[in-house]
Amino acid sequence: MSTNLLIWIILSPLIGAILNGGLYFYHIKNKPVSDLTFSLIGTITPFISFLITLSLFLRMKDENIIFNQQLFTWLNIDKLNIEMALLGDNLSIFMTMFVTFVGWLIHIYAVGYMKGDKGFGKFFAYFNLFLASMLILVLADNPIILFIGWEGVGVCSYLLIKFYYGKKENVIAANKAFIVNRVGDFGFLLGVVTLFFAMGEVDLSFTSIEANLGNASPELLSLAGFLLFVGAMGKSAQIPLYVWLPDAMAGPTPISALIHAATMVTAGVYMVARFHFLYIDLGDIGLFIAYTGAFSAMLAAFIATRQNDIKKILAYSTMSQLGYMFIAVGLGFYSTGLFHVFTHAFFKAMLFMGAGGVIMALHHQQDIFKIAQHRASLPIIGFTFLIGVIAISGIPPFSGFFSKDAILAAAFQEGQYLIWGMAMFTAFLTAFYMFRLYFIVFVAPSPQRKKYVYTPKTVTIPLLILAMGAIGAGFLNLPSIFGGHHLVDTWLAQLNSKTIHLSHSTEYILMLLSIGVASLGIYVAYKKYANFDVSKPEEEVGLIGNKFYVDEIYDVVFVKSLKKVSTFIDKVLDTKIIDGFIMNSSSGFVNIGKKVAMLQNANVRFYAAFMLVGMTCVFIYLFITLGL
């Protein structure tokens, strides 16, 4: 049913962004504005979005309706009709709920983290703008509006990664993120265009695409599905477009928490789920998606075992968990994948915020061995970090276990034993490297005497709230063998996702296997790192330590070759041939003009001579015609 509230979910942070931006200009040009003003505007606006979403959610739960809002017609050219409309069905409101909630908590956290930074107002303007773009993406009624949000989050990601623009590496990392994302976006746009032409050029909203899917030929639909997934590859950091995610850790920790853990990177998963009606019939493309997810998960887990930067380890673990999500949605288990998105948002954001707290307490030190050498006593952060690490490893009863186990069961049920095997091995590696991180940062014996460092309440309270979510969120989708009611699955029933219906004994065995694998990982990490000598850090060497040289390969294959081609075109084609041709023809004209101008040299005898020559020509002509 139609409502006017949907637009305010988006407009609230957008207005916050504009206000913060305007006040920031005022702040740097005229009088300084206090940080309190910026933070109030920056944190109240996402909370307003959350409240609106909550009210819509409650109404939807009671009355079983969906909301939509038609704003205006954006483009109406011949057969192309794009409306600016918002759709608040179960999937959108589900995503919006946790996006606004986690986003609001991270905004509060950022108030404490960014304190004292001279770009404080600018940060909150960008942050709110990001939230508005993400909400446009999630609430869109047709793929074009989704693409607006898609691009918007890419831009805000760029702006925020290069927030500390004083260091050149940060700007380069931001450029890399944007450019790699752009490659994906190109694929996405091609996919939308293919869909448009494949369906015979009908109205482009999601509901109408779903209705008209029969018009299109299967080959074009496969192509469209593949191209749309290319966009997801870029945005959600899967192979081969993942190289930007580790470098994106150059930005401040709040944005790593929000953008690169909970929201932007899950946009790809959301998009595949949103196009469920397309992918459900494309079994081959779905399998391809699942394999991509599996390989990305494994590759990321391998690399993470040898990284020394705390945020980079978490970045690779994000990529790995995204791989899991894609395994689920690739095989048709959309609600399972989205459930993992939901739980992952909580514990990953919490892990990042905890890491940020540690970094802040040790004056922006990010190497885990150096953090261990100068360890401070951070009780709350340590506690929440432990909860997050346990959750991500998949140990019950924390949320990560339920969502990850559901994905593993899904892979097993579909008969994709290779994917299941890879996912199990990745679970082992995940437990291993996450606990390696925990042990080194918080447990291994340190030469430093522990001294207590105060962390502000704006950091600790969101951490505790998220910890509760990390623990409790799993119970929202409790499978029936535990007597649960599959709340998330029933909520997202519109997606017609496949459900898990293995026999109970098989499910128990699978669960025990995954718990066993995770425990094995924890044990190995414990043996190796609980008493590690932190004064002799592990180096990032070898194939794994150098991230399988993927960045270097990309550099040689794509960057250097393109640079050679463009240098050639610039120096040779442009300067010598094209410019040379034009400049020479113009100077040729000038020279001819100069030579002609020599005829007018005001020398009288010269003129007289020329007159005589003219007469001579006439005489010659006369001679010839008179035939003498």
């Binding site: 100069k594 020599m598 005829l599 007018q600 040299n601 005001a602 020398n603 005898r605 007289a608 005589l612």
Partner: protein, 104 residues
């Protein structure tokens, strides 16, 4: 031996030498005298044909030409005096203020 062709030859020779003098000499006096030479050659041509056809008209025309030459002499020489006063030289190549290309 006085044939039409030889008389025509003499008159054309005078005309040609006058034309050559106009374009090859720089001295303003010589240019003027070459112009007079050209007129002379034409006068001879006219008178030849007056005698050839026994017609008076070319001779009258010759008188006109001589009168015009006299008038031209007066003006031309005044101009030569003016030019000599301003530039103190008899070179015709130095009057180049109306030039379009490089000033020589």
């Amino acid at each position: 031996m006085i044939s039409l062709t030889s008389l025509a030859f003499v008159s054309m020779a005078l005309f040609t030498l006058g034309a050559i003098g106009v374009i090859s000499r720089k001295n303003i006096f010589v240019i003027y005298m070459s112009i007079e030479m050209m007129l002379n050659g034409i006068n001879l041509f006219l008178v030849t044909f007056a005698r050839y056809h026994f017609n008076m008209d070319p001779q009258i025309i010759t008188i006109m030409v001589i009168a015009i030459a006299a008038a031209e002499a007066a003006i031309f020489l005044s101009v030569i005096i003016l030019l000599f006063r301003s530039k103190k030289s008899l070179d015709t190549d130095i009057f180049t203020t109306l030039t379009q290309g490089e000033k020589s």
